[in-house]
Subunit: 247 residues, 2 copies
């Protein structure tokens, strides 16, 4: 039987404030939890699982989890789950140390300027993982990478990414690699060919890239338009830009 | 004062069954409603607006709406709104005649095979409108183009599109223009260069393109991967493919 304190603790992790205080986040479901456990990018604190889930697991695997693994009833899972339909298992993982690794491990990286929708952030993380980009720098007002919506949508991609939250203005000024900002009034994307190295700046869903970042950018790149739509979704734009600059 | 019957009628339009019976759909908010009215693609049946919204409108515009325009109180708008935060105005529009215009007005068009998430369908419609593609053919199990989530996310793009729901197998077989299916195991997208004419087939979020459509496709095209993510979001993939084939 889960204690009231445990239920309250897990429920609190739906909120960034408590994720920051506790240094933990939650992941749910029979696909995501084993994927994160297998990847090993995040230390697992606890696994809360229903008998249905336990039955499907390998005996050795269950034993290896030791005291971290706690069997709970369906109604208990419903209490701690943030999903509309609670699904067999919920795990609490430790966040990775943010560190201030401001070095670029790769030639192309992303700088997200106030991407506020967790769905967009999650989709962008998956796109980056698809194109082999592992460094994402986020402004302080970007959605939280440990928001449950981000965690559920990115699956194991989340662990493979190096995601740094920083003061983007100070950070951008310190870079020697050129910045390329995605805007609606820049040079046509296809003219940039294959980019050798660069930091691609993706702006806020409503306001685009802030002017201070435009000022320090080497160029503005624009996805050519033939129709009439006012704008493209930020994640879709990221996908098109990375494809174009890499292939 | 709105009658109970009117409230019930408008609420019923949240559901496809009643949208089909009534031939109507709803659009909400001070940005979308005027945009759809100005574009004129859909006949407006009624506008339910709060005094706040009325005050911001041009006098002639308001007079031109005649009896269609009905002033309501905030609490009435909340009753009929499908949004979390009701927003000044809600309008009921007539759906366009679907017709069986199976002709292709353009050289490149989209065939959506069971895209089930309204968010994805809405994003794909905006992408198509960005790239100047106006014909979208949808399988019967695609999300409804008049689903409120689709309507709210596509803005005026919805009216500019020719969206046809059809038996895709029969329809695909009748085409003389070649089909190109987006899959995970086809030829690299960049090898296709600029496509002169073709129907791009985008598959279901979980199951991809159905085998019967793969069989009648001229080729399968795949977005090259350099990282480890299992898949790309269907709308993101559509954006990358259209960009690559058009520029």
């Amino acid at each position: 039987m889960l204690s009231k304190a445990t239920v309250k603790y897990i429920q609190s992790l739906q909120h960034k404030k408590f994720r920051d205080i506790e240094g933990c986040f939650i992941a749910e479901g029979p696909k995501l939890v084993p994927e994160l456990l297998a990847a090993g990018d995040f230390a697992c604190k606890n696994i809360y699982a229903t008998p249905e889930w336990m039955l499907q697991q390998d005996e050795t695997f269950l034993q290896n989890q030791g005291e971290k693994l706690i069997e709970i009833k369906d109604f208990e899972l419903e209490k701690i789950s943030g999903l509309t339909h609670a699904n067999q298992v919920l795990a609490v993982f430790a966040k990775k140390e943010a560190g201030m690794s401001s070095t670029l491990h790769q030639k192309i990286s992303l700088l997200l300027d106030d991407i506020q929708d967790p769905g967009n952030l999650g989709t962008i993380i998956r796109i980056a993982d698809w194109f082999g980009i592992t460094n994402i720098f986020c402004s302080a007002h970007c959605a939280d990478m440990y928001n449950p919506k981000v965690v559920q949508s990115t699956m194991a991609s989340l662990g493979r990414m190096h995601i740094h939250y920083c003061d983007v203005d100070a950070w951008a000024k310190a870079q020697t690699v050129p910045l390329y900002a995605a805007t609606l009034h820049g040079a046509p994307l296809q003219e940039f060919g294959h980019l050798q190295e660069g930091i691609i700046v993706i702006g806020n869903e409503s306001h685009g890239v802030r002017s201070s970042l435009l000022e320090v950018s080497k160029a503005q790149l624009t996805i050519p338009r033939q129709g009439e739509a006012e704008s493209l979704n930020a994640a879709v734009a990221t996908g098109i830009i990375l494809y174009s600059l890499k292939f």
